[in-house]
Symmetry: C2
Subunit: 200 residues, 2 copies
């Protein structure tokens, strides 16, 4: 007997092992779960994969994922059209929506500037963002990028590009995470929390 | 906008979150990976799920998963038919095959005795094992069950059942894992390693 499973099981394990966050042991566990699951459950998973590839597209205005273009946020007349929150990925839109603190529009860049990975400004959805600023409606751009090197580089690039347009450009506050412990905060975060201290 | 994704994406996230070892964040990450993957890659995953449900069955002799029944191990004339290694799950067969130390046959019980979960001896493939012992071929039964309470209970049950048949019944050795550290071994494992010490 070979040291791999029979064809179909091994192909399923391999297919799952290619997904992010799943190792070979996890893929094996999932494959045996699917084997012992009902046909309906397995079909539902396969169908969900097909469906998402068929139905989901990117919003032609903001670049978020959606089944209708423009997406529900862009199409919603109750959203504040004077603010655009710029994020890296579609999943960041959902993270901000979950805060229930923001009621403006979004713009998804599709990543961040990362010279090491060969991603420059021309690979991001920046021209589309500039197009959206041509009307007088937008008063503020919130740069909500990841607080890492790539995010910082993108914030610097965009703030230089946008400041001559006379639009207010803001960024998310850096500081201590809520529920965290001062003792365990790294020096950079604690430094940012100090320099960004607020009067109470 | 609702605090969940548009239909198809959310359905895919939910489908993945039901799989073992995948939480909501991991499911979201996988869903976005599939969204950005090629159609071919997504189709291959969905097809692998369908294929495994269609093609894979259980070997009528040993209970292992296979695409042909009897399975390649049971059908292989080079395997030593005087030994049967009893395991809980089909994946345990692969773990033992990978050691390249065993060349006999297998018998998959389909679980272990677990009164808390309502699994008794009658839920396991024990009658089939007894049927296989009716010929004079089998000289040794190796009980390769998980070294936990359920596995121990099953070993005790099976050894009482099998010893009157005059067949040699053995179990896997307990002791220190290779590459492990004596300091970090728990007392029960270290105790087993002591009581099972071997002359060199």
């Amino acid at each position: 007997m070979a040291l791999a499973y029979d064809g179909a099981i091994q192909r399923l394990i391999n297919a799952f092992a290619q997904l992010p966050g799943i190792g070979p042991k996890g893929a094996q566990r999932i494959a045996f779960y699917i084997l012992s699951a009902s046909d309906e459950e397995a079909d539902a998973l396969a169908e969900a994969i097909h469906e998402v590839k068929e139905k989901v597209r990117f919003c032609e205005v903001c670049g978020n994922v959606c089944e209708t273009s423009p997406c529900p946020v862009c199409a919603d007349p109750r959203r504040d059209r004077s603010m655009i929150c710029v994020v890296e990925e579609p999943k960041d839109v959902m993270s901000i929506e979950r805060t229930r603190e923001y009621h403006g529009l979004y713009h998804v860049l599709g990543g961040a500037i990362n010279p090491m990975a060969g991603i420059g400004p021309s690979d991001l959805s920046i021209p589309k963002l500039l197009d959206r600023l041509k009307t007088d409606e937008v008063k503020e751009i919130i740069l909500a990028l990841d607080p890492n090197i790539e995010g910082e580089a993108t914030v610097t690039y965009l703030s230089r590009l946008l400041s001559p347009l006379g639009i207010k450009v803001t960024r998310l506050a850096s500081g201590l995470p809520v529920g965290g412990d001062l003792e365990y905060a790294d020096e950079i975060t604690l430094g940012r929390a100090l320099s960004g201290r607020q009067e109470i």
